[in-house]
Amino acid sequence: MTGVMNEADWLLLVPLLVPLAGGLCVGGIRALDTPRRRRIFVLSALVLEAAAVILTAARPDSSLTLFRIGADLPVLLRLDGAGRLFAILAAGMFLCVGVYSFEYMRHEQHEKRFYAFWLLTLFALEGLALSGGIIAYYMFYEAMTLLSLPLVTHTQTREAVAAGIKYLIYSVLGASLALAGVFLISRYTRTLVFTPGGALDPAKTAGHEPALLAALFVMILGFSVKAGMFPLHGWLPTAHPVAPAPASAVLSGVITKAGALGILRVIYGLSGPGVLVGTWVQTALLILSLLTVTMGSLLAFKENVLKKRLAYSSVSQVSYVLFGLFTLNATGLSGALLHMVFHSIIKNALFMIAGAIIFKTGKTLVSELTGIGKRMPRTMLCHTVVSMGLVGIPPTCGFISKWYLAQGGLSMASAWNWTGPALLLLSAVLTAGYLLSISIRGFFPGEDKTHESFAPAEPSPVMWGPILLLTLFCLGLGLFPTALTDWTHALAAALAGGAG
């Protein structure tokens, strides 16, 4: 940071306004109602948004107060390291998956509504990325829930609506818990604006540590609902299978990360990690996250519905990120940030592949996928590579993040610090079991299956292109991670170091 930070940087609104305006236009302008025009418009909005986000991210830190609630509650946007990372991630993923959806959504109805809410959800996510205080974060968080709901219920079947309601209940419950935490914690803070190193006022907290810890616990638990941490992970395996594949992809790949970002903001922006180190809150959260890691993998391993399997996998993998956050040290935090990015890449790719399989063959069960590699060799090759990424096989990117997560876990001052890495590895073994087995049965159908029975079903380049791109990212970031790891290390050091 050089010089005085720009306090009224109106350009920060651009990444928010582009998708907002785009979404409203798609929904409201008649002229865009032909599929072709709509696609061109959505594509240009997404590209424009990606460009806007990248240009914004390239600028120095700045902030913008939108309005004030009363005298002392500013609702403000702020550009900082974690925000940049999340903003780029969200815009990039929405662009990738958006392109993919142009093909996929051909077999769904109501494209207009889908794309309108697609762009509006992106608006809420960019708002989350740029939120400078917990109040703004909460507002965008609720907005994200509501705006993404139509994506879940898109097919309007009975199951989809039921799943949507479940999604809504869980999300609102989580947000309310978080809000309750905000009310509780506001008595001990100087400000509710995210401050590196925490915004607690030592004079106010003295003697109130138990209440403070309880408030933090409630808040983190609230945000963990979106991140799918046990015991409030139930919406993931219900919502993912019924949503269209592009929606599942961003639900798992991006929206779950909003919960993780919320927790990051609470720990590193409001309380500061020092308050939590070694407390019962840290222990409880570590136990919950590790339990989720193991549970998600195991249940994914036993699941036969492909998208549900991937949803359980997300339950497990996002808790890797949470584990990294809960280690409360810079190495673990860096691992968490890396895993946030890598899991997003990989899970988006996996859901797009699952969607491609459904789109081309109509198969939704893993047991039906014998020989799929013969029918969709390119797609399944990508599946194999990103699966290895999720397992954490070098030289794919998942290995890098797991390395730092494990180092962060081992850096905790506890005799039990080895359990974290050990469980991560156990989960990795299970991950190999539930993902690679699909590739294996796909490419090695067995001698009794004649090759003639495998009609080619490779998806078109519009579908396959984004999958390939993410696969290449998965490999490329695994082979040459230095630029990204340097960034996250510096970011983590700045966030954690602020604790003093």
Binding site: T294, P394, P395, I400, S411, A428, G478, T482, T485
Partner: protein, 735 residues
């Protein structure tokens, strides 16, 4: 020159991707693959020359794959790189014929080259991180070898292979996490420094964890379960590589840990010795029982890996005097690679002609095929440790190193029993090696097939293409050449290898054919012959319909993996865990949470909701309130009334009784009550009268009347006078 190192890794990788371009053109792909393999072998030669001349090449690729890739080339690495490249080339030539009519050839070629690249990466690595990265890649690419045939058996074996590889890999990774966290670096030199400075107790756990993954690939007990299953089902060229090179990659990892982190630590030697000895013996035992050509060879590989592991543990036990063990280990690794190349290609020759591997079905195939017989014989003699063949040399060194340690213990005055036993097991296992090789040889080249022998004899020509014949003959010829001239080849190879193991230099040149060594070999061979005559022929064969045939008498229940896969383990371990997690998964939506708590909450809320209209609220509370208000309202009046009743009450005149006076009235009423009570209880039959108040009144009136009469009479006056006189008298008297 340093750039040669990444080139050695990337070259086969480039080849792999180029073959993808030749899809559908089998011949082009074949030529491409063979030329890339040959070129790799040629590239490895200058590397070996450079290493042999004492130059150490190093190359670091900072930042790649996280912590960066570090390569180094020394004698041992160059040697193994060359062996790997050579074996790949030979099997590559051989596979042209082997795969002539196979499906999925493109896949095999692609992953074959990928695996070579990964293997080169491991052998060149200068830190455990690099080694691990390539090791994992190798595990996955070599999976396709095992699954290549896609038979049910192959798929199952491949599943086991992958499971062990993934689990082993993750255990190794855990060890790496811990080591890196403790040391901050994983280079071999850092490990060595740590091994010299840190206490061993701190290093044992991470060291063991790191070793597990590598040892699993090497086929060490109890992680060997994949080996006897995977090697036989893979195509023969791949089996040769699995046995000859991939197991050595595992050994490379074990050596990296053993010779750096635990250099000269006897404690580590003891830890490694136990599984080593078990692997050695168990492998040979399994091989003796096996009736499948390739399975026998696979089990034999396991056994030979056991020999090597014993050598490694001897290195650690002997400390600074470990020159013999070091050289024995290097040489046995090299010998085993070369021998297994020959033997598996022989097995492949059989398989590609007959598509059978069961000894009963292939017996007699080798009759009248001198090239096959020569190749197989060289391999068999080599591996059995017959003097003048290469296996003898390395086994002698290993044997001598055990003897040396026993002698060392004896000199120190320590008990030697355990190590003498190890030595005996070593010799016996050598004998078993001879016996099962003899079994194979007899079956293939001496016995006749009961029905198909003429057909076999008809295959004398054309069972090998010239290219395959070159691969067969060339690889076999190396074995006796190395054995006949030990100082020319073996000593130099050993010199090359010992630097990597940080071993001591030999005190004196090795006497290869000393009496002691020859005696050891003779003991082994005698035991082997005895085992063949005494166990294999009588016990492991039976006569059926006049023909002796081989039977597999190995009890099925001894299969470790079958236990793990069995229903008991699933029911007792897996299912409860899954059920527990299912339970946890559904916790937020379980019946208690979903129904009971909401029901309770709803009930509570309903209660609260109806509270305003409930009976207590609607009736009782108003009633109480009204009462209270009434009370307050009437408080003053009440007080007044109370005071009038008590303090300020007006005194009434006593009432006159209705009958008689008050005394008779009350007494009469009391008597009446008593009488009524008695009438009701005791005197029911004869009730008393109950009108005492009247009676008493009558009595009173009578008494009044009588008293009036008395008062009015004269006698009453006289009576009073008399009383008065009496009183005067008493008064006077008393004065």
């Amino acid at each position: 020159m340093n750039r040669l190192l990444p080139l050695l890794v990337l070259w086969p990788l480039a080849g792999a991707f180029l073959t993808l371009g030749a899809r559908g053109r089998a011949k082009a792909r074949r030529i491409l693959a063979c030329s890339f393999l040959t070129a790799e072998c040629l590239l490895a030669l200058p590397a070996l020359v450079a290493a042999a001349s004492g130059r150490e090449l190093a190359f670091a690729w900072e930042g790649v794959a996280g912590l960066g890739l570090r390569f180094r080339l020394d004698g041992f690495r160059a040697l193994y790189l060359l062996i790997a490249a050579y074996m790949w080339m030979m099997t590559g030539f051989f596979s042209v014929q082997y795969f002539a009519h196979a499906e999925n050839r493109g896949r095999y070629v692609f992953f074959n080259l990928m695996t070579l690249s990964a293997v080169a990466g491991v052998f060149l690595s200068d830190d455990l991180y690099t080694a691990f990265v390539f090791f994992e890649v190798m595990s996955f690419t070599s999976y396709t070898w095992v699954a290549q045939e896609e038979t049910q058996k192959a798929m199952k074996a491949a599943e086991t292979y992958l499971a062990i590889a993934v689990i082993g890999g993750m255990v190794t990774l855990m060890g790496l996490f811990m080591l890196y966290h403790r040391l901050g670096s994983l280079t071999f030199s850092a490990l060595r420094t740590a091994g010299e400075t840190l206490p061993a107790e701190e290093l044992f756990l991470p060291g063991i964890l790191v070793t597990v993954g590598f040892a699993a690939k090497a086929g060490m007990f109890p992680l060997h379960v994949w080996l006897p299953k995977a090697h036989p089902v893979a195509p023969a060229p791949a089996s040769a590589l699995l046995s000859g090179v991939l197991t050595k990659v595992g050994i490379f990892g074990v050596l990296a840990v053993s010779c750096n982190l635990f250099l000269n630590r006897p404690g580590w030697g003891r830890i490694l010795l136990v599984p080593g000895v078990i692997t050695m013996f168990l492998g040979a035992l399994l091989a003796m029982f096996s009736v499948d050509l390739k399975r026998t060879l696979a089990c034999s590989s396991m056994s030979q890996i056991g020999f090597i592991l014993v050598g490694i543990s001897m290195q650690a036990l002997l400390g600074a005097h470990n020159a013999l063990a070091v050289r024995g280990t290097v040489l046995h690794m090299v010998n085993h690679s070369l021998i297994k190349l020959t033997l598996f290609m022989a097995a492949g020759t059989v398989y590609m002609n007959l598509h059978r591997l069961n000894l009963n079905e292939i017996r007699g195939f080798g009759r009248g095929k001198p090239l096959l017989r020569f190749a197989f014989l060289m391999g068999a003699l080599g591996i059995s440790g017959v003097p003048l063949w290469n296996g003898y040399l390395s086994k002698s060194l290993l044997h001598e190193s055990i003897l040396e340690y026993v002698a060392h213990l004896r000199a120190e005055g320590l008990p030697t029993g355990a190590y003498s036993a190890v030595e005996w097991i070593f010799v016996i296992t050598g004998g078993m090696t001879f016996s099962y090789m003899l079994k194979l040889y007899v079956a293939l080249f001496r016995e006749k097939h009961p029905t198909r022998q003429p057909e076999f004899d008809g295959m004398r020509k054309g069972y090998l293409t010239p290219l395959s014949a070159l691969a067969r003959g060339g690889s076999a010829l190396a074995l006796p050449l190395l054995g006949f001239f030990p100082d020319l080849g073996m000593s130099r190879i050993a010199d090359l290898g010992q630097g990597f193991m940080n071993g001591g230099a030999p005190a004196h040149p090795v006497a290869w054919f000393s009496g002691e060594n020859l005696l050891g070999a003779a003991k082994s061979l005698a035991i082997g012959a005895a085992l063949y005559g005494g166990v294999i022929r009588p016990l492991l064969m039976r006569k059926r319909e006049g023909v002796r045939e081989y039977v597999n008498r190995w009890p099925a229940w001894l299969d470790l993996e079958a236990w793990i896969r069995s229903g008991a383990v699933r029911r007792l371990v897996c299912d409860p865990v899954v059920r527990l997690f299912r339970l946890l998964d559904g916790l937020a939506e379980s019946r208690p949470v979903r129904v009971w708590i909401p029901a309770a909450a709803t009930g509570l809320m309903r209660g609260l909701d109806g509270l305003a209209e409930s009976r207590p609220v609607r009736v009782w509370i108003p009633a109480v309130c009204t009462g209270a208000c009434r009370l307050l309202n009437s408080l003053t009046d009440g007080l007044i009334r109370l005071s009038r009743m008590t303090v300020l009450s007006v005194k009434r005149a006593p009432e006159r009784p209705p009958v008689g006076n008050r005394l008779t009235w009350r007494l009469g009423r009391a008597l009446d009550a008593l009488a009524r009570g008695l009438n009701r209880t005791i005197l029911r039959k004869h009730p008393m009268p109950t009108d005492y108040e009247y009676r008493l009144d009558v009595e009173r009136q009578e008494a009044d009347r009588v008293m009036g009469l008395i008062a009015r009479s004269l006698s009453f006056g006289l009576l009073l006078l008399g009383i008065g006189l009496l009183a005067v008298c008493i008064y006077l008297l008393s004065r």
